[in-house]
Each structure stands twice: as C-alpha cells, then as structure tokens.
Symmetry: C2
Subunit: 511 residues, 2 copies
C-alpha cells in the first residue's frame, strides 16, 4: 500500500467520507487512491476557494470535518480566504496539500514555492509529511487537531513521493481533545454578576443548541440580565418555537449604542465585542469604558456547560419561546429591503439551512425570519467575502434532505461564482437569491466616513454597474437555471417554488 492509500483509508476509518477537491499533478496519487478505494464522495470545485468554502459549510452542518485536496502553494493561497473564514468560525477542516517530491524541491521548478508558509497564516496546525510509513499517522493527528473543541484548521502537506512510495501504514483514529474544564471560581463570579445591566455575550456551540438557548432565555428572565450573540456566527439554530437571540449590529455606531447600557459582561465562547474595523474617532472595543468583563468560557471551553451551570446557580429553567407570528408574504411592489426580508422569511420552509452572505442588503432578514419555521443560519464569520455560494454547496452535501437558501450579495458572489457549477454537478437543492444592488454598498458607506464628497474615481471602484452583471446568464453558463425578479410578491413565490424543486436554482432579486 502506498502512502496515499494509507492516508485515505486512515481518514475514512476516522469518519471522513467526503473529499472536496481541486487537485493538480502533485496530487495524482491521492486522486488515484480515492478512486481505487471508493471510500469517499469526491466533490470537485473549479477554484480552490470553492473547495474550502464548501468544506466549511459541510463541517458546520455535519459537525465533523471533510478533507480538502489542494495543489501546492498557489492553490493553497486560493483556498486561504475561506480557510480564514472557517478558522474564525472555529469550524473543523483538514486540508491535504500536495507538494513537489522532496528531491524536486532543490530546483526552482515553476510551481515551487513555500507551501508551509502559505498555510501558516490560515491554519492552526501545519505539518509536512516525511515518509510513506508515517503520513497516515500525520493525517490522523491532523484530523484530531481539526475536530477538537473548538474546531481548528489543520493543514497536512504531502510531498508527491511520500504519496506514491510503498510502505504506507493505516493509523488508528486519534481522539480529538475535548473542551478544557470550566473554572468553578469564575462560574461563581459570573453567577454573582447576573442582574439587570449585565450582558451575556455568547457564540460558538451555544448558538447551535436550542435547549441551551432556551436555558439562556430562562436565566435572563430570572435575573434581568440580557444576552446577545456576535454579529456573524458559525451556526444559529433559530425560528418558530425556539428562543431567539439577537446579534450585535455590524455598523460601529449601532453596535456602540446597543452595548451602551451594560456595566457588566459575561463572555461565553466569544471574545469581547470588537469593531469589524478601526475608525479614527471610534474605539476598537465596543463595551462601554469601565464595563466589568468576565470570560466565563473561552473558545476551548464548553459554552453549553457554562450556561447549564449558570442556570443551576441561579435556579433558572428553560424559558418557553415567545410566540412569534409566522412571517407574511410581502405585497406586490418594488423589492425594498423590508420587502426582501419579508419575502425570504415567508418563503422559508421547515428545516431550511440559510446561508447568509447578504452583507448590507441582508441585515434585517434575521429579524424578519425569527418566526419562520425552525432553521439553521450560517453566516460569514471571517469577513472575507466569497464564502456564501460554496458554503451553501457544502451544507447541502452534509444535509441532502434539507433545502438550502443562499442569501447572497452580488459583489460578494463574484469572488467564488464558480461554486454554482459544483451545485449543478452535484444536483444540490440550493436556492440562491442574489441581492442585486450593483455596488459594493458596504464600501460606499465606509467611504462616506472617510471623504465627505467622493468623486468619480472612488465611486468607480465601488460600483458594479457598467456593465451590469447578469447573474441569470452566469448561472446558466454553469448549468444552474435561474430567473430575474423585480417584484417582492413574485420573489416570495419564486423562492418557494425553487425550494420545492430539486436541484439548484438562482434568483436575481433586483433591488
């Protein structure tokens, strides 16, 4: 057995059964091993950012890592932005990256570059395999590093010869590290802080467990403390019958206003809230000066256990979810932002997976859909636009029986538009709604903060018209049917229809 086959068999033995791939020549022995063993579903992306974005979506919904297969340093660089987003989500991911055969690295071949250097900024764990006999063990350890609490980005670099050489040895699975225990004294202090004027700021696994969210609401009801989630999160389980959790607004002034009332903050699987960007006249940290801040559970601790312990300490019980009305379809008329939110909220079916890269146009849809049937909400966690379409593909592969609704800003969609082809090839039930405002609207808002009166050169760099993008044509070019919609009521029907049909569909909503 060669090194490549030992690696594939080891990963499969540890539970990996999907490989998102964009391989090159230096990975052909892994392609061959995947082919001969037939142990994994192999999903091709036409660009590496599709591969890692899909792997993130898969991991968020499957609760375990897929493996990605990437090609040398430039291919890894192409994958980097969505590795970054996954890393900020604390999603588990194991990247397998080929490199030249060891003897070949001495020469300046055209594709020679520093693979480990390219991996390091976007990985928590990087290792280069050194022999066919040990590469499977490396993979098992990389998988364990990825699959711990929190999830991590592990990158294993595999020189070609180590894949093709004989002497591979299948390795036993390695148990991932569980969460670090909570500190009892910190718990006591946190419980003592629970009172009006205290904010419980929590993310990560807390948001994925409806029972914990109900308990959190119970703590709030019992103590008068408030609770809030970060702006963007790996996954929130929400919708009718579930406790809803608000999210910190993105715009810095709104965020400051939202946090102004608090003099105490308890952090659970979340950092102290920080502005997305710095501004000359605004603070970086968003809690009011002097706010007492306590990290009850860090990313490597169990936030759900922390909330359970808090509830026990104060004698809180799960709160019943508020009775929220089912969202109503919008009236016929232009697709204003409120109408956009209403259309999506009304169209969401039971068990939908919502992928949110709506950016400016999508900001109010979360509020609008709080009463939609229960659904999962996956967001852009690392701020690097271009994960929505791939993440939708990966989520659909993880959950073939659940419809995926992909809320997608137009500018952001163009970074990884190639993901539509993967959606078509794999026949995924993804309904993409493009929010076509034809600009980098978020940057226009930021520019007006910097210069009072931007001129044509600046606006030119933030404008996506001239020529207008035609997303229906782009989708058709990759085998995804679609249509353009200009009316809000029609949009709601179009989304519902597309969800009901199998396979991908794209709706370009003209804002």
């Amino acid at each position: 057995m060669n090194g490549a086959e030992s690696l594939v068999r080891t990963l499969h033995g540890a539970g990996v059964d999907v490989c998102f791939a964009n391989p090159g020549t230096s990975e052909m022995q892994f392609v061959d091993a995947l082919d001969r063993t037939r142990l994994m579903r192999c999903v091709l992306g036409l660009f590496e950012g599709v591969v890692t974005g899909a792997a993130d979506g898969y991991a968020r919904m499957a609760g375990k890592p897929a493996v990605t297969l990437l090609h040398l340093a430039p291919g890894l660089a192409n994958a980097g932005a969505n590795m970054h987003n996954a890393r900020k989500a604390r999603s588990p991911m194991l990247n397998l990256v080929g490199d030249h055969a060891v003897r070949h690295l001495a020469y300046d071949a055209p594709l020679t570059a520093d693979v480990a250097g390219a991996a390091t900024p976007f990985s928590d764990w990087v290792r280069t395999a050194t022999s066919a006999a040990t590469i499977a063990r490396d993979a098992a350890e990389g998988l364990a590093a990825a699959a711990g609490h929190p999830g991590r980005i592990a990158t294993l670099i595999a020189p070609a010869d180590i894949g093709w050489e004989e002497g591979g040895v299948i390795a036993e699975p390695v148990a991932p590290q569980g969460p670090r225990p909570l500190d009892a004294a910190v718990l006591d202090r946190a419980a003592a802080l629970l009172q009006p004027g205290t904010l419980i700021f929590c993310g990560g696994s807390v948001l994925e467990d409806p029972a914990t969210l109900a308990l959190l609401a119970g703590i709030a009801a019992k103590t008068g403390a408030d609770f809030l989630a970060p702006t963007s999160n790996r996954r929130i389980e929400r919708g009718a019958g579930r406790s809803d959790i608000g999210r910190l607004p993105y715009p810095v002034d709104l965020a400051l206003e939202r946090l102004a009332p608090y003099s105490r903050a308890i952090l659970i699987e979340a950092p102290a809230p920080v502005a997305f960007f710095a501004y000359p006249d605004r603070p970086s940290l968003l809690l009011p000066p002097g706010c007492e801040t306590l990290q009850l559970a860090d990313f490597d601790q169990d936030g759900c256990a922390a909330i359970a312990a808090l509830a026990e300490a104060v004698g809180a019980r799960p709160a019943a979810a508020a009775d929220r009305p089912r969202p109503q379809a919008p009236q016929a008329g232009p697709i204003t932002l409120p109408a956009l939110g209403a259309a999506i909220a009304a169209a969401l079916p039971e068990a939908a997976i919502v992928v949110d890269e709506g950016v400016t146009s999508g900001r109010d849809i979360g509020t609008a859909s709080a009463g939609s049937p229960p659904h999962s909400w996956l967001a852009l966690t690392g701020g690097s636009i271009g994960i929505g379409l791939p993440m939708a593909a990966g989520a659909a592969i993880a959950c073939p029986d659940r419809p995926v609704v992909s809320l997608q800003a137009d500018g952001s969609a163009m970074y990884t538009i190639q993901a539509l082809w993967t959606q078509a090839r794999e026949g995924l039930n993804v309904t993409t709604v493009i929010f076509a405002n034809r600009s980098y609207e978020i940057l226009k808002q930021e520019l007006y903060r910097v210069g009072a009166n931007p001129g044509p050169d600046a606006l030119n760099m933030l404008d996506l018209s001239r020529p207008d993008l035609d997303f229906v044509a782009l989708a058709r070019g990759m085998g995804v049917p679609g249509r353009r919609v200009e009316d809000a009521a029609e949009l709601c029907r179009a989304i519902a229809d597309a969800i009901a049909e199998p396979g991908p569909f794209l709706i370009e909503a003209m804002l």
Copy 2:
C-alpha cells in the same frame, strides 16, 4: 497631507499611473487619495487574482510596474497565485495591502490575520509601514525593489491609521538596482564552449529583444551551437522577420528527448532546465548526466549584454530571419488541434499581443504562428493556472493600440473568469478564444502516468462536463459579447472579426 496621499503622489512621481484595485474598508483612505489626486487610472477587479494577473500583464507590456491595492490577509491570499506567476516571470509588481489600524490588531477582529505572513511566500520584498511620515519613502523603496533587474514582487503593508494620519511626506524616486555585471572569466569560458553539441538556454530579457535574438541566431550559425528558451516565458518578441526561438516541450519525456543531444549548456537568465513536476522514474534535472553547465548570466545579470559579448568573442553578426510562410487559414472542418493552431496563426494581425494559457490544447500554436506578423507572446510562467484572462486585460491597458488575443484553456479560465467583467468595463480590445475540451486534459495525461486504469471517481475529478460550461453565457453575464464556433475555417474568420472590432469578445472554440 495624510499618509495615503503622500504615497499616491510619490508613486506617481516615480512613474506609476495605473492602479489595479480590489479595495476594502481598510483601504478607503487610499481610495480617497486616488480619487482626490486623480493621478492614476484605477481599474477594478472583482476578485484579487484578477488584480495581480492584470498587473503582471501590464508590467510585461509596459516594462514598468503598476500598483495593486488589496485588502488584508485574505484578499492578499486571493491575489497570491498570480503574484506567484509574476514572481516566476520576474515581472515587477508593487502591492499595497491594507491592514487594520495598529491599535486594532490587538483584538481578534473578524478580519485580523497575519498579512506579512500571507505576503511572504509570494513576495521578494515585504515591509510594513510604520508612520505617515515614512510610508511614502517605503513605497518609493518598494517600487525600486520591484523595478530592478530582474523584476521583483514587492508588497507594502499599510495599516489603516498610517494612511489616514496627517504628516505624509512625498518621497523622491529611488533608482532601481541595475543588473549585476557579467564575469569576464565566465564569458571567456562560455565563448570557448560554443560549438556543436552546446546548447544556449536563455530566457528573461533576451526573449524580449529581437536584435538580441538575431544575434543569438548568428552565434548559432557561426559556431554550430543550438539555442532554446524555457517552456514558458514572460514575453517573447516573435513572428515574421524575426529570429524564432524554440521552447523546451512541457511533457517530461519530450523535454528529455529534446535535450539529450547536448554535452554542454550555457545558461542565460534561465535556470538549468528542470521538469515541471517530479515523477518516480524520471530525473528532475533534464540536461543529460555529465552535461557541462555554465551559468553565464543569472536572473540579476543582463542576458542581452551576455549575448552581445559572446557574439563579439566569436565574431558573429545578426542572422537574417528565415523566410517563413504566412500561415494559411484552415479548411472547413472540425477544430482539431492542428486546425486550431492554423486558425489562430492565420488570424493574428500585426502587433498582436498573444496571451497563452492554452495548456494542452495550445501546445502547437507557437510553432504554427512563427510566420504570423510580428507579435508579443506572454505565457503562464509559474504554472498556477488562472492568469490568462486577467493578464490579457492588463496587457491591453498597457498597450491600448494593440489587439490582444487571449488563448485560454477552459479549465484554467474558470479560476479568474471575473476578469471578463474588467475587460468589458474598460472597453479593452481583447479577443478571448476558449479551448473547450471540457476537461482538465493535462491532469488526465498525468493520471494515466500514475494509475493504469482510472475509474469513475478519478475521471470525475478531471472532467468539466456534467454540466457543460457555457462560456458564451458566462461572458454575456459579465457584459462581454461572444459566440460558439465548431468549424475551423469559421473560427479563423471569427477571430479576425473580433480583433477588428473594438472592445472585448469571447469565442468558445469547441474542440
């Protein structure tokens, strides 16, 4: 004057008048400075790989760097693959990358990551600006580092506050380092090696100067030595009336066969020829064992001067170019690879710029077009597919009066397909010919080297059908008109027509 404006004014003073950009919030003060000063043509790319690929194409044709404007570590990662290609081409490039304000870096904001770490694998020069007073000087030094001999990739990281703070000081231009002098003793030894059985292997600036290529042919005629260029090069000036230079074949066996006759090799602005990839049963270095190899001019030396000195030493004069027949248009019929080459060769007009990312289907077009009117030939130098469409855009911006013909493999086109939009927005006269064989054909060939009998999973990862890509629809989606062609004679006419019309056009050639 703030730091951003001092930087823009300094770069403009040193000759930079184009900025390829994909900015984000942390670059808004640079966008604002570009807007207020109006000193540079700002060209927006919808993805960062478009930005750096275009910058490379621009530099190859303008002979000087543009500046790129990129956003934080993930944006830089997206730019990395084409920085890699440009670096292997020794093209000059200055990347300006924003980072968070210095005080903001202490917090784990969503977009925080190691910008310098992401820059290093794909840059020759990396610096982080430290004050508004010195950022312009940093930029002048970065530009000089980029614009030396050879060209280099320089990356200047600009924290947002250093751009927005007052106190910017315009810096004087810094002279780039010229080539390191040749070694007289090495020149003597090289001249003594010139005889039958000797190969002059030369790249870089040698290929850009028709007079030097004529002198090279004269040396060969006088001494019996042969000459050859690397497989892929920054730019070759070629065509009717010019000395033609062969290129080393890509497939390793053909390359070995081509180099087998030589017992002596003189290297000029080229490394000893090395296989693109390593294979279990093939050498990495391609010259025959025992071949005496002499580096007459390294990348940092002047290859043209080396050839002039060799000619003088042996008393050679420029050779007249062979009289090559003007290529004839192919007969009507299917677009076989020979017909493809003939169609392109016959359609090429005077002064065309050919961008070659044709990969397997394009291999014979160079030979077919040796008798086409004089033209420039730009190739994929770093092996990382996805530079063709952007490079064509950048070349067209550098040379607005010359038609650009972009020879583009279908699989490779999908990595940076967004470049078509930039071609449309800027109204560039680029004729893209997509070689639609609907597979990663090069990888299929490599796979057959690894596994004798690939199964469906492997072929699935190398196949681009199911669904077929429709490049005409993709182009239309980005404002570029196009058509599909299935006949060789029609293809030739379609290319000639598209070149004659201003603005971009895409032809999907069905192979």
